[in-house]
C-alpha cells in the first residue's frame, strides 16, 4: 500500500493528524517508563523525588560506575550467559537431531512420537514445578547450572522441533535420496548438508531459546540457592530487596542489566522479531 494515495484525498490531513497524535500518545506510553528508568539512575534519591521525569540537574555517574565496577554485576551476567548459552546449544543439538528424524525418516510410530512431543506446547513449566524440583533434587542437580539448563531445554524442545522439522521438510527431498544412493550416511547428510542449509532457522530457534532463557525467573528461583550462581533476574530481585527504597540505585541496576538485552535486540532484531512472531505463528 502506498501512503501518498491516502493523503491526496481531501480532508485527510485531519486523519493524518489524528493518526500522528495517536502514535505520539503510544510512543509516550511506551517510552516514558524506560527513559525515566535510565535517567533515574543518574539522579540522587532526593532529586528523584522532586524531578522523576526530567534530565538530572546533577549527573550522578557514581550510581552507574559503582555497579559496573562491582563484581556482583559481572557475576550475574556471567551466570546468565552460561545458563542461556548452554541451554541454546543443547536445545539446538537435541532438537535438530530429532527434527531431522521426524522430517526425513518414516518409521513405525513416528506420528505418535511427534504428537507426544507436541504435548509440550500445551502447558507451561510452572504446572509441574514442584515435581520438577523434587526430580532435580533427586538427581543431585540443585544449585547447579544444569538443574536449570536441562528443564529449560526440555521445555523448549517441543516448539524447536516443530519449527526445525517444518524447515527441514522444505529442503528438497531429492538431495537426501541422491546422497543416500551415493553411500552418504544419514549422520553425514545431517552434519554436512542439512545443518549448513538451515542456518536461518537455527538462528531463529536459537534466538527464541536464548531470549526465553535469559529472561527466565521461576525455574532458577526454585533450583538455585547461592549468589555465585544466580542469573540476573534473580540477582536484580535480591538487589531490590537489599536496597528497598533507594530507587536511584535500583534504577541504575535495572538499566545496566537490561543493556545486554537491548544491545542484542538492536543487533539481531530481524531474528528476534522473526523468531518470536513467526515461531509463534507456526507453533
Amino acid at each position: 500500500m502506498n501512503s501518498e494515495q491516502d493523503f491526496s484525498e481531501t480532508g485527510l490531513d485531519w486523519a493524518a493528524f489524528l493518526k500522528a497524535l495517536y502514535l505520539l500518545g503510544v510512543v509516550l506510553f511506551v517510552a516514558t517508563p524506560l527513559v525515566a528508568t535510565v535517567l533515574g539512575g543518574f539522579k540522587s534519591l532526593g532529586e528523584l523525588r522532586t524531578n522523576p521525569f526530567g534530565l538530572p540537574q546533577v549527573w550522578e555517574w557514581k550510581n552507574y560506575a559503582d555497579i559496573v565496577l562491582s563484581r556482583r554485576y559481572w557475576q550475574l551476567l556471567q551466570n546468565s550467559l552460561i545458563i542461556s548459552s548452554l541451554t541454546v546449544i543443547l536445545t539446538l543439538i537435541t532438537a535438530s537431531m530429532a527434527a531431522f528424524v521426524f522430517a526425513h525418516i518414516s518409521f513405525f510410530g513416528r506420528n505418535m512420537l511427534l504428537n507426544y512431543i507436541t504435548m509440550g506446547l500445551l502447558f507451561p513449566a510452572a504446572t509441574a514445578i514442584l515435581p520438577l524440583f523434587i526430580k532435580v533434587r533427586d538427581l543431585g542437580l540443585l544449585d547447579h547450572y544444569l538443574g536449570v539448563i536441562l528443564p529449560q531445554v526440555a521445555f523448549s524442545l517441543a516448539m524447536s522441533i516443530l519449527l526445525l522439522r517444518r524447515f527441514f521438510k522444505e529442503l528438497p527431498e531429492e538431495l537426501l535420496e541422491a546422497a543416500l544412493v551415493d553411500g552418504c550416511s544419514y549422520l553425514n547428510f545431517f552434519r554436512y548438508v542439512t545443518l549448513p542449509l538451515s542456518r536461518p532457522i537455527l538462528a531463529t530457534v536459537g534466538t527464541i531459546t536464548f531470549v526465553h532463557s535469559w529472561n527466565a525467573y521461576l525455574v532458577p528461583l526454585v533450583m538455585l540457592n547461592s549468589d555465585s550462581q544466580y542469573p540476573w533476574p534473580m540477582g536484580i530481585m535480591i538487589y531490590q530487596g537489599e536496597f528497598s527504597a533507594e530507587w536511584h540505585l535500583i534504577l541504575a541496576f535495572i538499566t545496566l542489566t537490561l543493556l545486554p538485552t537491548i544491545i542484542l535486540f538492536l543487533f539481531a532484531q530481524k531474528h528476534i522479531v522473526a523468531g518470536l512472531t513467526s515461531g509463534a505463528v507456526k507453533g
Partner: protein
C-alpha cells in the same frame, strides 16, 4: 528399488536410534514425568522431604477450591484475558494498520513498540513498581504536580490488579502488533486495490476485506493472550507478590506462594494438575472450535 533400499534401512534404524533418544529422554524426564508425578503427589500431604507417605486422597483439591485466594487468582486470569481482548487487541490491530505501511519512521516505531516484549518480566515489573511508587514514582510526581496525594495503586486490594493489567498491556501489545503487521504484509494487495477502485470507503475496506482476511491472525493472537495469561508469574512477583491481601494472584503465582514457598508439595501439585487440565482442555477445544478451518 528393492536392492537399494536395504542398506539405508540399516542406516535408517541407526539414525533413528542415535538422533531421537536425547530429545525424547530429556522431554520425558523433565516434562512428561513431572506432570504424572504431580498427579500422584497431589494425593498426599507431603512437605517434600523423604518420600510421600501421608495419603489424603482428594483432600488437596478440596483445599485448593476452598481457598479464597485461588478463586481470586482464577478470576484474575480471566480478567487478564478480557483486557487482552478488549484493550490490547484493538490497540495492537490499530497500530499495525498504521505501521504496516512503509513510511519514514515506521520501522523505528515498530521496534520501539516491540521492545517491551523482549525485556524480562522481572525488570518490567521493577520498572513499574517504580512508576507506581507512592513517593518517588512517576505517578506520584504527576499527582504532586496537581497538589494531590498519589494513590498507592499496588498497595490497595482494589487497584492492584488494575495496575498490573496496565503493565500487561504495556508489555505485550507490541508482540500482537507484530503478528498483525506480518499478516498484513503477507496480504494480497490486489483485493484492497480492487475494492478501492470500486469506490469502497476506507472503513468498508477495513471492515469487509482486511478484518476478514486477518481472522486467522486474530484467532492466533487471542490464543496467545490466553496462554500468556495462564502462565503469567514473573511480572506479578516484583509488582505485588500477589498481594495485598492476595488480591492480585494469578494461578501460577498462587501455586508458587502456597505450594513452593510453603513446601506443600501435595497442595501445590494439586494446583499444578488443575492448571494443566485447564491448559490442555483450552488448547484442544480452541483448536477444535475456533481454528478448525486452518
Amino acid at each position: 528399488m528393492l536392492t537399494s533400499r536395504k542398506p539405508y534401512d540399516a542406516g535408517k534404524l541407526s539414525a533413528v536410534l542415535l538422533f531421537l533418544p536425547p530429545a525424547l529422554l530429556l522431554f520425558t524426564v523433565f516434562v512428561v514425568m513431572p506432570i504424572g508425578e504431580a498427579a500422584w503427589y497431589s494425593g498426599f500431604n507431603w512437605n517434600g522431604f523423604g518420600t510421600p507417605k501421608n495419603w489424603i486422597g482428594w483432600d488437596n483439591y478440596r483445599f485448593v477450591f476452598d481457598n479464597k485466594a485461588f478463586g481470586t487468582a482464577f478470576k484474575n486470569n480471566l480478567l487478564i484475558i478480557v483486557v487482552s481482548l478488549l484493550v490490547q487487541l484493538p490497540l495492537a490491530l490499530s497500530l499495525a494498520l498504521i505501521l504496516a505501511r512503509a513510511f519514514k519512521g515506521a520501522v523505528m516505531l515498530r521496534m520501539l513498540f516491540f521492545m517491551p516484549y523482549i525485556l524480562a518480566e522481572i525488570a518490567t515489573g521493577l520498572i513499574f513498581s517504580f512508576v507506581y511508587d507512592g513517593e518517588f514514582g512517576l505517578l506520584a510526581a504527576i499527582y504532586r504536580h496537581f497538589d494531590a496525594q498519589a494513590p498507592h495503586l499496588l498497595a490497595s486490594p482494589d487497584t492492584s490488579m488494575l495496575a498490573i493489567l496496565l503493565v500487561i498491556v504495556w508489555k505485550y501489545f507490541g508482540f500482537h502488533m507484530m503478528l498483525f503487521i506480518a499478516a498484513l504484509q503477507g496480504m494480497d494487495k490486489n483485493l484492497v486495490e480492487a475494492a478501492r477502485v470500486d469506490g469502497a470507503s476506507r472503513w468498508q475496506i477495513l471492515r469487509h476485506i482486511i478484518i476478514p482476511l486477518l481472522r486467522p491472525t486474530i484467532k492466533l493472537s487471542v490464543f496467545f493472550a490466553i496462554i500468556g495469561s495462564l502462565q503469567l508469574f514473573d511480572l506479578i512477583m516484583p509488582l505485588t507478590r500477589g498481594g495485598p491481601a492476595d488480591s492480585s494472584h494469578t494461578m501460577v503465582s498462587f501455586l508458587y506462594n502456597f505450594g513452593v514457598m510453603r513446601m506443600r508439595v501435595g497442595f501445590g501439585s494439586a494446583v499444578g494438575v488443575i492448571l494443566f487440565v485447564i491448559c490442555v482442555t483450552f488448547a484442544f477445544s480452541y483448536k477444535r472450535w475456533f481454528m478448525r478451518d486452518e
